[in-house]
Structures are given as C-alpha cells and as structure tokens.
C-alpha cells in the first residue's frame, strides 16, 4: 500500500483494501484513486473492509458500483471483514441496483437535435395558428354580442400600454430625427443642396422611421408586459380560475389588449412623426441654418399626404403582431418560473423580427401600388 497518495483504496497481494472515511465529500477522490489502480485480471479478488472507518449511504452506493464494475470484468469479488454498518448500508443500496441502471440516458445524436428543433418550429407555427383562430373567434363574438366586449379593460390597456409609453417613444423618435438630419446635413452640404435635407427627413421619418421606432419600443415595453402578466396569471392559476367562472381569458384580457394597441399605435406613430420632424428641424437650424419658416415652406411644397398614410396604416398591423405574439407567449407559459423568462424573451425577439418582416412586405406592396 502506498500511504501518502492512497488514503481510501489500496491493492496488495490479490486484496483490495478500503480504508478511511468513505463519506460523501470524499467520494470523488475515492473514484479517482480506484481509476488509477492497475488491477490484474485475477479470477477472484478479496476486498478487505476492516480499515473502513466510516461509510455513509453514498459511500455504500459507490462500493456497490465498484464491485459491480469488477464483476463485469469477470472478476469474482469476495468481501472480508465487512463492518456491520457497511453491510447494513449495502443492503439498502442493493435494492436500487437495477433501477439505477435503467436511469442512464442516451446522448442525443446531431440528427435528433436538428429534428427536435424543426419539430419545435412546426409546433410554434401551429400554436400561432390556433391562437389566431381563437383571437378571431373572440373578435367575431364581440362583434355579434357587442355588450360582452370589455370596453373598460380596453381603455385601461390604452392608458397603460400606449399613453404611458409616449414619453420614451417620442424622445427616441426625436433623437433619431435629429441624428438623421445631422448626418445627412454633413453630406448634403458638400453639394450645396442644403434644403433637400427636408425632403429626405420628412419622407424617411413618416414612411419608415417613426412606425418602426414606435413598434420596436412598444414591443420591448408592452409586448414583454403582456407576456409576463399572462404568464404569472397562468402560474398562479388565475387563468384557470377565470375559466371556471366562465370568463374566457381571450375575451377578458387578450382581445382588449390587442384592440387597444391597434388603436393606440397609430396615434403613437402620428405623434412620433411630429417629434421626429421637430428633431430634424432643430438639427437643420443649427447645422445648415435653415429657419423654421424655410423648413415648413419646403415641407408644404414636397409633402404628399400619402407619405403620412403609408406610415399610419402600418400601425394596426404592427400592433396586431406585437400584442398577439405577446399574449400567445404569455399563454404558453408553463408551470415554472423559468418559463416566464424564456417566453418573455421569445415574445420580444419574435415580435420585433415579425414587425420588420411585415414592414418589408409593406414596402413591396406600396412600391407595386406606386404610392
């Protein structure tokens, strides 16, 4: 026996000595020492446990595993000097010998991982379809029985998710207008085409920037709020409680939220248009010396009301995307706290992504229509 390194297990003359304290904190070391042993393939091997000072349940489990490993190599193990404590524990652990083997799980292959991923995407799509169906149903129900519609919920949702979001959306929009005007002023100045900064600013803000900024900020702020609210209600079984009382959560929570945002977002976009242009006006004044009067005069000349409508019409569509994905993700929360985090993240990311795709589709449509 080597004394210094090997404190738990040693090998000498066909005998395996177990010694020291086989207690939970030490078991990792015992395993390492066992792995280092060079065991000759004797037909039989004695295992001397007389020097085993202490052994707990986990220690007995390890002892059991080691014996089993030796037996698999066709080595017969004979136990000597088993302390009564250890014998008792070995009896407990023997029970679960079989069970533990079946618990070993196979590692997934690459194909299985890809397949599982694809299947999840497919499930996500069907989930969204079924959600849209329920949403449409509750909308028709509300149209058929208008008195069942929760107008108060909707107004509160407008207050909470549209009006309270105004400061941050408007501030962002103004800063973007300012930055765009400032950056393009630097370029345009070189050609002496100063006044065209107005064209470029007004058209880009109203058609694209204001709707996108509003939608992205709202997706981050309100989309996540829808998911978290519904998710917590699901975990605390409030949704189930509502159902048993005959309150359909779609009618009471989801539909009011969706309609509220569809009304609120175009209004937000309109105000964001104004603030974006105001920001640009400021940059034009400072950087190019274009007065407010000149700016407005130029705007009057070039501005087509269509530009405004193109931006505003996107509002309800973006709102539908944000509110329905947020609500769907909330309803998808399962009974664990983790699930809220995962779904909230997924709700914001996929809402922003879908908004941008939708925006691209609009661009193509408007291009074809020549608006």
């Amino acid at each position: 026996m080597r004394q210094t390194e090997n404190i738990y297990i040693g090998f000498k003359e066909k005998t395996l000595f177990c010694l020291g304290a086989w207690l939970t904190p030490n078991l990792g070391l015992v395993e390492k020492e066992f792995a280092k042993l060079v065991l000759p393939s004797y037909e039989d091997l004695a295992m001397d446990l007389s020097a085993l000072d202490a052994c707990d349940v986990n220690g007995a489990i390890l002892l059991h595993a080691l014996i089993e490993r030796l037996r698999k190599k066709k080595i017969t193990v004979i136990l000597y000097n088993l302390p009564s404590e250890a014998e008792h524990l070995l009896n407990i652990t023997r029970l679960s010998e079989e069970a533990s083997l079946s618990a070993i799980r196979a590692k997934e292959s690459l194909f299985a991982t890809i397949g599982a991923g694809a299947y999840r995407v497919y499930l996500g799509l069907t989930e969204y379809l079924s959600f849209s169906g329920q949403l449409a149903f509750s909308l028709f129900y509300a149209l058929r029985y208008p008195s069942s519609f929760r107008i108060k919920e909707m107004l509160r949702s407008i207050q909470e998710h549209s009006i309270k979001a105004l400061p941050i959306v408007l501030l962002t929009s103004m800063l973007i207008g300012l930055v765009i005007a400032y950056q393009s002023a630097l370029q345009i100045q070189k050609y002496g085409a100063d006044i065209f900064v107005v064209d470029m600013l007004v058209i880009s803000v109203t058609r694209e920037l204001a709707p996108l900024i509003a939608a992205i900020v709202i997706a981050g702020r309100s989309g996540s709020a829808y998911t978290a609210q519904l998710g917590v209600m699901k975990i605390t079984e409030e949704i189930d409680a509502m159902r048993t009382m005959g309150f359909d959560p779609f009618r009471f929570i989801v539909l009011p939220n969706v309609l509220a945002l569809m009304i609120g977002l175009p209004m937000i976009i309109f105000l964001a248009d104004i603030m974006g242009i105001a920001g640009g006006m400021l940059a034009a004044r400072v950087e190019l010396g274009i007065t407010v009067l000149e700016f407005v005069g130029r705007m009057e000349e070039i501005f087509n009301i269509n530009h405004l409508f193109v931006g505003l019409i996107k509002g309800p569509f973006f709102a539908l995307i944000i509110a329905s994905i947020g609500s769907m993700r909330g309803m998808a929360v399962e009974n664990s706290t983790d699930s809220i985090g995962i779904n909230t993240k997924a709700s914001v990311v996929s809402a922003i992504f879908m908004v941008i795709i939708c925006d691209a589709i609009f661009s193509i449509i408007f291009l074809e229509l020549g608006i």
Binding site: P25, V57, N58, G59, S96, S100, S336, T337
Partner: protein, 244 residues
C-alpha cells in the same frame, strides 16, 4: 446519555415590538425524532429558521452539531449547511429543474463525484423515499402534493446529512399519504440513524413518530419530554391542542 445535536440556550426573538420567544432553552439528542409543537403563530417555524441559519435570534445561543451557528464565519457556515437537510413547508423544489436534477444539484456543486455515480445516488435516493425512476424525470409542476414532499425529502437526503429538519411535512397531505410519510421518516431513522427535527400540528404523526417534543405557547416552552410527559402537564393550551 449521548451528546446533544442541537442545544438551544436562552433564546429570545422579537419582531419589532412583538416578542415571539422569551428565554427558551432545550436540547435535541442524537438519533431522536424531535417535535416542535404549538398552536399556529407561536414561533415554531421561526425557531427552526434560527437553527438552520436563516434568521438570527436577538439573544441567546444555538449550537448545532457542536458549533455555535450564529458565531460561524462564512466558510464554516457553508460546511455546516452541507451537514443538514431541510424540507420546507411548500417543498421549495426548483421549478425549472426535474426532480432528478433537483437531487443531483448539491452533489454536482459540492462534491467531485463522477456523473455515473451521481446518477446511481439519485436513483437510490428516489427509491429510498418511494418514488419511481420515471417520477424522477418529471418536473415539480407535474407532481402531486405528496410526491413533491417525497421529492423534497430525497433532495434533503442527497448529501447524506446526519440531521434533518422538516417543516410541517404532513400538512396538506391526506391521512393515508400522511401516514405513509410518517412510516417513511421512521424507516429512515431506523436505516440511517438520522436525527430528525419536525415542526408539526398533525396529531397522528405526533403519536406515531415523535420521541420527544417541546410545546410552545405564550412565548415559552410550556411542556417538554415524551408524549406522556407532555400530556401530564396541566395547562389549558395542552388540553385544547391535543383535543383538536
């Protein structure tokens, strides 16, 4: 007599103005199943939280496994915490982990056992508390109340503690499951020689499992000892408590 595993000496606790414990002392000996009893709101859970380093008493001392718990440094406290297992009233399983992962968590964190040994240990603990291997793969939200209690017990047993704290393990269980749980606790003590501290209201499990107990009322311990000793004590609360 064996050495006490837990020594509570002159402990007083107050929440703001409200005094919960007034100069309480008692001992818990090795191998005992010890009960903290008393009507609701009389400070049983608080006493247990003080023993397991979750809440500091205002005065007095508490020794667990020979260490004065509220005088320990951070490192010693971590060492001590590994030597006991706790089952909370609401089981407090981590909802994002499966039962197996809940049990394996401490082993992964605090030992360097190989994954295959950890799997064996988890399987054995599941078996010991009477859960099947397929229950182990479930998440806490997929378990019944009784199964959650068993899973929490398996998690508390993961590191082979010498000392187990259970806060109302059988409340919210039906009488049959509660009786099953009581037998489980008795057999664990039998097999592993654990010392078990239980907070409970349940008369059936008081009769069946407890060796000794203390009964809290009016900020004091009003009775202590075996069930016979406690029943012999004359006090209005004892009569109402055991006649529920």
């Amino acid at each position: 007599m064996k050495a006490p595993v837990v020594r509570v000496r002159n402990v007083s606790t107050r929440f703001g103005e409200y005094l919960v414990h007034d100069d309480i002392s008692f001992d818990i000996y090795e191998g005992e199943i010890f009960g903290l009893l008393g009507p609701s709101g009389y400070g049983k859970s608080t006493m247990m939280r003080e023993m397991i380093l979750l809440q500091e008493p205002d005065s007095g001392s508490i020794e667990v496994l020979g260490k004065e718990v509220w005088k320990l440094g951070e490192k010693e406290a971590v060492e001590l915490r590994k030597q006991w297992g706790v089952v909370f009233q609401e089981s407090a399983l981590f909802s994002s982990l499966s039962v197996e992962e809940n049990i394996a968590l401490l082993l992964r964190e605090y030992t360097n056992m190989s994954p295959s040994l950890i799997r064996r240990v988890v399987a054995t603990k599941l078996e010991m508390v009477g859960l099947s291997q397929s229950d182990g793969r479930k998440y806490p939200s997929e378990l019944s109340g009784g199964m959650k209690k068993k899973a929490a017990l398996a998690r508390a047993l993961a590191m082979d503690p010498k000392l187990l704290f259970l806060d109302e393990p059988t409340s919210s269980l039906d009488p049959v499951s509660a009786a099953e749980f009581d037998s489980l606790i008795l057999s664990l003590r039998e097999l592993l020689g654990l010392t078990i501290v239980i907070v409970t209201h349940d008369l059936a499990s008081i009769r069946k499992t407890l060796d000794t107990m203390v009964l809290f009322a009016d900020k004091k311990v009003i009775a202590r000892g075996t069930l016979q000793d406690v029943l012999k004590t004359r006090h209005p609360i004892i009569e109402s408590f055991f006649l529920q």
